[in-house]
């Protein structure tokens, strides 16, 4: 099938009429008469979004999400590639497991699915997983996400070993002594009043402070997942200013938008790890995303069944949906307020994550000859978020009931339409 898209504006403000032929962008004249005509007047055409931080739950927890449902949510959110975190059952800690996730993506995916490998066996933090064999299967991003690679020596070895493969450690930064398994509320006057186990901001930044020094020392490639605190921003800014370490950082849409008081009702929808922070932290991470200290938005899309959320706050599963709302949140906070132009949005949500994840065919500028991975965005449309309409199998949607941009009109992945309104 082929498309002809006319009237769209690109991220840089220029106009481009283009065709989609054989999975690539082409001149309009290259399309045949049977091509579907799309009037994109008033819409913005962006490269397909790339999520470096997705939980797809298959294999292991298919009642919460499958590759099919999760990638459909991705397509609805404007994504054409997602990186699947390895906290699956079995964990993605072998080449075979990585191959299986990639195969599921090819079979069921509504976007590209790229497996992330575990850093350690079973994500237990003790012994390195078969990093090289996974890398031979194309894995470039390694993470024990959900658990912190807290042992300094393991982190050093992983960073060093992965240099052979251009691999990267994506760290879930959480000092397990400062923020243990029950920690669930940002340490603040709110945790103090509610009596919820506290998760202090420094439990994140002390790990990142160590890691960026190990990254510089080893020359390894390091990525800090879901940065949530002002202290972490300071550390990353300092390390980047030194300019000697290959480090990148990520922030989630929910940490950018939602604050600690959301947990005051003990609504476990708002339980997430790291926890929602207070306004001073939120402003710090927003500023850092704008100035590039934080490189990318990663959704940490984390579907959970209702039964895994219907527990007391300290034992309910942490995590919230994000793929469908990420672009809307970024638009609301940055585009609609004039803090970011579209080109910067493209960098933070498409080009930079593709570059960090080593996906050369994703995050490309929209131009004739480039792969046809794109999203058409209506910059003015809004809607009230309704969790019941999500493509995800889960309903742990923290944006339910909020009035937000509703931008995605059409998503095209590798030349085929994966979503249209």
């Amino acid at each position: 099938m082929s498309l002809v898209v006319t009237g769209a504006t690109l991220a840089d403000g220029s106009a481009l009429d283009f065709a989609v032929v054989d999975g690539r962008l082409a001149e309009v004249s290259d399309a045949d008469d049977s091509a579907e005509r799309v009037d994109a007047s008033g819409l913005v055409a962006l490269p397909g979004l790339v999520d470096l931080h997705t939980h797809l739950r298959e294999p292991g927890k298919e009642d919460a999400e499958t590759v099919a449902s999760g990638t459909l949510a991705a397509a609805r959110g404007g994504y054409t590639a997602v990186f699947a975190m390895p906290n699956l059952d079995p964990a993605t800690d072998t080449a075979e497991a990585a191959q299986y996730v990639a195969d599921l993506g090819r079979r069921d995916g509504h976007c590209e699915v790229v497996p992330i490998g575990a850093v350690t066996k079973g994500r237990a933090g003790a012994e390195l997983a078969e990093l090289g064999l996974m890398a031979e299967q194309g894995v470039r991003v390694f993470s024990d996400d959900g658990a912190c690679v807290h042992d300094s020596l393991i982190m050093r070895r992983a960073l060093t070993y992965l240099k052979t493969y251009d691999g990267m450690v994506a760290q879930h930064a959480q000092d397990p002594r400062l923020a243990g398994p029950s920690a669930c509320c940002h340490e603040s006057d709110i945790s103090g009043r509610l009596g919820l186990p506290a998760w202090p901001s420094v439990a994140e930044s002390v790990i990142i402070a160590r890691d960026v020094q190990l990254a510089e020392f080893t020359g390894g490639r390091y990525h800090a997942c879901h940065i949530s605190t002002a202290e972490s921003v300071d550390v990353i800014r300092w390390a980047k200013k030194r300019g000697k370490a290959d480090i990148t950082a990520e922030v989630t849409p929910h940490h950018l938008l939602l604050d600690t008081p959301h947990v005051e009702s003990f609504d476990t929808t708002f339980k997430v790890n790291p926890p929602l922070r207070t306004s001073e932290h939120i402003e710090a991470i927003r500023e850092a995303l704008v100035d590039g200290t934080i490189d990318i938005v990663g959704t940490d899309h984390a579907p959970h069944t209702q039964e895994d959320k219907d527990h007391p706050f300290d034992v309910a599963s942490p995590g919230m949906l994000g793929l469908e709302a990420a672009l809307a949140v970024v638009m609301e906070l940055f585009v609609n307020t004039g803090r970011m132009d579209w080109a910067t949005v493209v960098d933070r949500m498409s080009a930079a994550p593709a570059r960090i994840g080593r996906l050369p065919h994703q995050g490309r500028p929209l131009a004739v000859g480039e792969p046809a991975n794109l999203v058409l965005v209506d910059p003015s449309r809004r809607a009230t978020v309704d969790r019941s309409t999500s493509a995800s199998k889960s309903r742990n949607n923290p944006y339910h009931g909020l009035d937000l941009p509703d931008p995605v009109e059409m998503t095209v992945w590798a030349g085929r339409v994966t979503y249209r309104r």
Binding site: D189, I190, S191, G192, T268, H311
Partner: protein
């Protein structure tokens, strides 16, 4: 009033009404036949997902003396131990037509969550490190009795209440602070900085490490239990050091005003936060607190289920 989840839910009028009715209930306690018909035909389930002897017994006696049918469900013997979620457990028992749940749970917020799932009234009998509103009410009741016994005004305004101990993990202190914010008592909190809740400076109370000074000016000295696991958790070096620095030792009893009372929500760690000399001193109202607990809980149940404000 449909639920009692937080001491902050109580208006001044509601709090006073509960304390006043508790005085009438306390009279019943002194009768040979301790039975009122007020809650006849009402069913109360005591759901204790966390071990408790005194609070569960206190609620059970309160319900029985009000002629309610009371049933005890413990976390271990219930379907919770078979893997049923808290929500399903609550929905199941609620469907039986129960009038009131009295819930103790180890997780902060679990009682408020449960209240959101059921039609029946819910009383928070202690949720994690969050709140224990009936404890704060029985403490207030005991304080008022003590003020009267000492010939003092029975108003809370102008009275100084020192609360000493593991404040970080204590639901008792949180409910006491919230209730006294309504009743008017001036609270001073004393604890090592490692056992102070984050944000305590926003609570509208005084915070100090100077125990001797706090005791010397207090009308009420409330000592809180230091749990065993805190002693190995790095919150303070040793039990010996804690007892010396923050315990109500025999020597410190001598600092008390002659009209002051010693209180403790129990169970006491004698020799740690409180010496035997203090626990057994004439100024100790610890057993009066236990006695008041039944009367206050009778009053709370009456306000939720039997009074004018009954559901």
């Amino acid at each position: 009033m449909h639920h009692l989840l937080s001491a902050a839910d109580l208006s001044l009028d509601e709090a006073r009404s509960i304390l006043d009715v508790a005085e009438e209930m306390h009279e019943v306690q002194r009768r040979p036949i301790k039975k009122l018909p007020a809650l006849r035909g009402r069913t109360i389930i005591n759901m204790f997902f966390e071990d408790s002897t005194r609070t569960r017994t206190s609620f059970e006696i309160a319900g029985k003396w009000m002629s309610a049918d009371t049933i005890n469900v413990s976390g271990k013997g219930s379907s919770v131990s078979k893997g049923e979620s808290l929500r399903d457990t609550m929905l199941t028992l609620d469907a039986m037509g129960v009038d009131c749940f009295v819930i103790r749970h180890a997780s902060s917020g679990a009682v408020a969550q449960a209240a959101g799932w059921v039609r029946a009234s819910v009383v928070n009998a202690g949720d994690g490190q969050h709140e224990h509103p009936t404890q704060a009410l029985l403490d207030a009741y005991t304080m008022r009795q003590h003020f009267r016994d000492q010939g003092l005004s029975d108003a809370y305004e102008g009275k100084r209440i020192a609360i000493v101990g593991d404040l970080l993990h204590s639901r008792v202190v949180r409910s006491n602070v919230l209730l006294q914010a309504t009743l008017g008592g001036q609270i001073t909190l004393v604890a090592p900085p490692t056992l102070l809740p984050t944000g305590v400076e926003t609570w509208g109370v005084r915070v100090t490490q100077d125990l001797d000074a706090a005791i010397a000016e207090a009308d009420i000295v409330m000592m809180l239990r230091v749990q065993r696991e805190r002693m190995t958790g790095g919150f303070f070096p040793t039990a010996r050091e804690y007892a010396t620095e923050y315990g109500l030792t025999a020597e410190r009893v001598g600092l008390l005003k002659p009209t002051a009372a010693i209180m403790h929500p129990g169970p006491m760690n004698r020799g740690v936060e409180i010496s035997s000399e203090a626990a057994d001193a004439a100024a100790s109202r610890v057993l009066d607190q236990v006695s008041a607990g039944v009367a206050v809980r009778m009053s709370v149940l009456y306000h939720l289920l039997g009074g004018e404000g009954a559901a």
